[in-house]
Symmetry: D2
Subunit: 311 residues, 4 copies
Amino acid sequence: MEYGMYYLELVTPYESILRRMNKVLASGRTKYQEYFIFDTGAFGKVLVLDKDVQSTERDEYIYHETLVHPVMLAHPRPRSVFVVGGGEGATLREVLKHPTVERVVMCDIDDELVEMARKYLPEWHQGSFDDARAQVVHADARAWLEAHPETYDVVIVDLNDPVGEDNPARMLYTVEFYELVKRRLNPGGLMAMQAGMILLTHHRMHPVVHHTVKQVFRYTRSYHNYIPGFMLNFGFIVASDAVDVAGLSEGTVEARILERGLQLKHLDAAYLEAMFVLPKDLKEAIASEQMVSRDAAPFWLTEEGEARQQA
Amino acid sequence: MEYGMYYLELVTPYESILRRMNKVLASGRTKYQEYFIFDTGAFGKVLVLDKDVQSTERDEYIYHETLVHPVMLAHPRPRSVFVVGGGEGATLREVLKHPTVERVVMCDIDDELVEMARKYLPEWHQGSFDDARAQVVHADARAWLEAHPETYDVVIVDLNDPVGEDNPARMLYTVEFYELVKRRLNPGGLMAMQAGMILLTHHRMHPVVHHTVKQVFRYTRSYHNYIPGFMLNFGFIVASDAVDVAGLSEGTVEARILERGLQLKHLDAAYLEAMFVLPKDLKEAIASEQMVSRDAAPFWLTEEGEARQQA
Amino acid sequence: MEYGMYYLELVTPYESILRRMNKVLASGRTKYQEYFIFDTGAFGKVLVLDKDVQSTERDEYIYHETLVHPVMLAHPRPRSVFVVGGGEGATLREVLKHPTVERVVMCDIDDELVEMARKYLPEWHQGSFDDARAQVVHADARAWLEAHPETYDVVIVDLNDPVGEDNPARMLYTVEFYELVKRRLNPGGLMAMQAGMILLTHHRMHPVVHHTVKQVFRYTRSYHNYIPGFMLNFGFIVASDAVDVAGLSEGTVEARILERGLQLKHLDAAYLEAMFVLPKDLKEAIASEQMVSRDAAPFWLTEEGEARQQA
Amino acid sequence: MEYGMYYLELVTPYESILRRMNKVLASGRTKYQEYFIFDTGAFGKVLVLDKDVQSTERDEYIYHETLVHPVMLAHPRPRSVFVVGGGEGATLREVLKHPTVERVVMCDIDDELVEMARKYLPEWHQGSFDDARAQVVHADARAWLEAHPETYDVVIVDLNDPVGEDNPARMLYTVEFYELVKRRLNPGGLMAMQAGMILLTHHRMHPVVHHTVKQVFRYTRSYHNYIPGFMLNFGFIVASDAVDVAGLSEGTVEARILERGLQLKHLDAAYLEAMFVLPKDLKEAIASEQMVSRDAAPFWLTEEGEARQQA
């Protein structure tokens, strides 16, 4: 390891990553979080919020294709989409690739972060903030959804993990929040979400979120993918009362990709399907999970990845 | 990050992992390599050879199930097995779980390392070194195979990546070596191997190895899995002239697991199959690879993951 | 920085030192503290207690000559010495070099640590634990001194800094403790002590200790020296009601060194004298210090080096 | 150690310092060197060139008072001064504090660095670049001195250590360079220089430089001081054919400080004198040094601090 500038990321209390920074493009603190944007040798620009790498220039397509397209392709004709979080604009970008889309509302509480992304991360948003179909709202997503009765074909939730007892994000991981999302779905609608790192089967984030979402939706399906820039395997969920994403045939997915003219770099129909197949130990961890996160006792994660619930 | 003892692992020239060590159980240098065995908070005991984490107590089952069972299950009745490397004894352990196995020869050049494993890593080998069906040989695997005309149903190759121009392992990644392995296979036999980290599609290790193996075997199939203790997605290959592992039905695999009474923790038939489905960018990298490693010009990897070939 | 094992020392909340470890000889926890003994490239063996490097094989002679000889040479004929702390045995070793010494009581609370030092650190103690003049006692030094009315020509205090609100060492940094030490001094007796790192003039450790000692003794003199293995400049104090160490002539010191046949590696009379000359900023920090540590309100240090006092 | 941005400084091949950066103000590469300017919690702004911390906002006064005032005070009336290096402008600032000074030529090869200092380091130069008495020249100092026969009362040399076989600075550490400096001194003139870290007595930098300078000047005196921001003890040299700085009385120094109205923060006459008193082991290392650096065989340092000479 040569002399120079590094970013220290505390992945667990036992493992940390030191990332060499060629150049620091911006760093500071918005009203809501600390941010760091820097340039690296292998992953290009890296965006860090608080303590975690959010995405990297070189591999953000993997993360964003993984988050967005399974749910969008599970819907036969998604016209309206609501995005919770997603400040860099890349979720928006992927959503807008679907020509069926007529309207996307992206709700990220942090206006300063979105400004930062506009300025420093053009490779992410690629102008999607200025797409006529997109509306960007700066508000608490839960409050905004409660106040606005508009409904959507797809809701995509891209939030930080609720690490720490006082993490404000924990109110966006409860049964009541998912019930609100469900009320904002059109008939036939689906929700997708980022659902935590899957470091070892003992990490509780993904099982608890899965089990909580399952209280609300008829079909709750987990899938996973490796995100190189995080050095981690990440979990995702698609949930719906109408559509079981696991029941979609490879043929249907392939047909929709063609029909919509999607140019994907990481996903194709076969790999999309394979992501929904989980290893045995993870399936067992999900199946045996008992914790349900509710407003009265929202769950949060310790640094070790253990789940806690306020009594 | 608290004060204390850490292991610094240089994953790439740009990213390093600092792992907190609770206790150092052993460290030193054998004739062939440096080793470190230490205890950690999240992964239990960790074995490092030279600069890379080889396996961890808590998740070695993931690595070893992934390496061993796809090839063993692809064979209808594997009786004899040859293991190249695999000093910790866990590959041996997984092979011996198949009741069809009558004889396993494990060839690891480093006798001191195997002694170390016997003493410090009982959770890995679990006594398999003493199984009556196992024979442990300390020799250069290539020389040994050349000198011994005995043939096997399955050959499993578990070696370090050939990083660095002078890496002796590079002579075990050439067409000529795979041809030798093929000559040591019984009719219907298969080879499996660990085939490098898949950090980003620009990392050349896996495509070059795949392309090289393909020169020798009729069926060459890549698969991949996330190894939490490495924080990396790893590539593997199964190759054979007789059996196309990709053509095995989930039902056949499931029947063989039951038939052999295999108690697996990470794999089941569905997940085993899903591991062979690769993302689009990786498939393209493999398809467009041109480099073939030969004795006359063995390939090696730079620290950046670029492939070089001696002229 | 190469791959391998490192010790992370948190010197301040802003600066940390990573020390490459060739070999870990011992690590664990006694009843009182965590310890690490490891071998390094430049400093040989290193002993760490809790989070701070205590001494290194290669440069411990600098630390121990600096701590011991100024006070021993300030006394015309030191016969009896009491050492508070000093578990490695090197303080004892330096004291015993003075042929005038007839009896040394070394009181270190941590018997396990002393056992460890006997076993792993022979270069430090060099057999002094077995010198007929030495008595090693394992007890709380304050309680022991209170219980035993025996008096000494010299008392040497070698303790950790009282970092943290609950640090038990803080009761050995109060006016009442120094008054106890004074009652245990023979007429003409002196006390010497390690008195904290002098990293920047804003670090309060040394000024507060100096000002506290000054409440008790007629002559309180600070001196300082650079300890390479710590990468820090350290402060020390000699205090007495009878002798002003600053008034000793170089000639007297030189004569005593010769007379006692001391073989010193780092100190001579001129350098010993020069260590008592302080830079202007440090002198001003000492002169303007107001805090006095008392049993009713013992002072402690924050990680930043700020001094706090319980109300 | 918290998550965030750090600077990794490789002090020796065995010890590194990780410094937490609050903010990176500038980083890049001039024609001659890499630079990093960042803000830290304890030391304020920090300037790094290539791999070493050059000075910090909070303690640069210690370094620059130590480098400049001993030589300036050793001269009864320094009117003209030549500074080799010193890009930050703080050496210039300290020189200009002496009201006797009529002209200072500062020669730093790196014009981009000086521009950077003007912009980002006003606390260092405090406008001295614009002082009417100062002339800033961007050239190789040796070539410039050869080409310009002007002479000075004082020459101050502030260069990086010649680490590495190809280090261009090594031609500014030879007998021939010091002879050139001597030819550029007025009668009664003196040279001062920064002369390397004194980490352990086995570090050869300071002894070799001292021994080389001694070949040229009648009086060569070493002194040392601890620089907190470097976490290192540094060596310096004053040399002259006319004045033995060690022979100056404290009274003379004090009178000159008063006479010139110098406002010093770290030095006073007594401490200035004490810095010239060296510990015994360092004196012995200097006395036994045999290596002389000459143009025909300039010395250079290994990373370990060993001295090498081209044959």
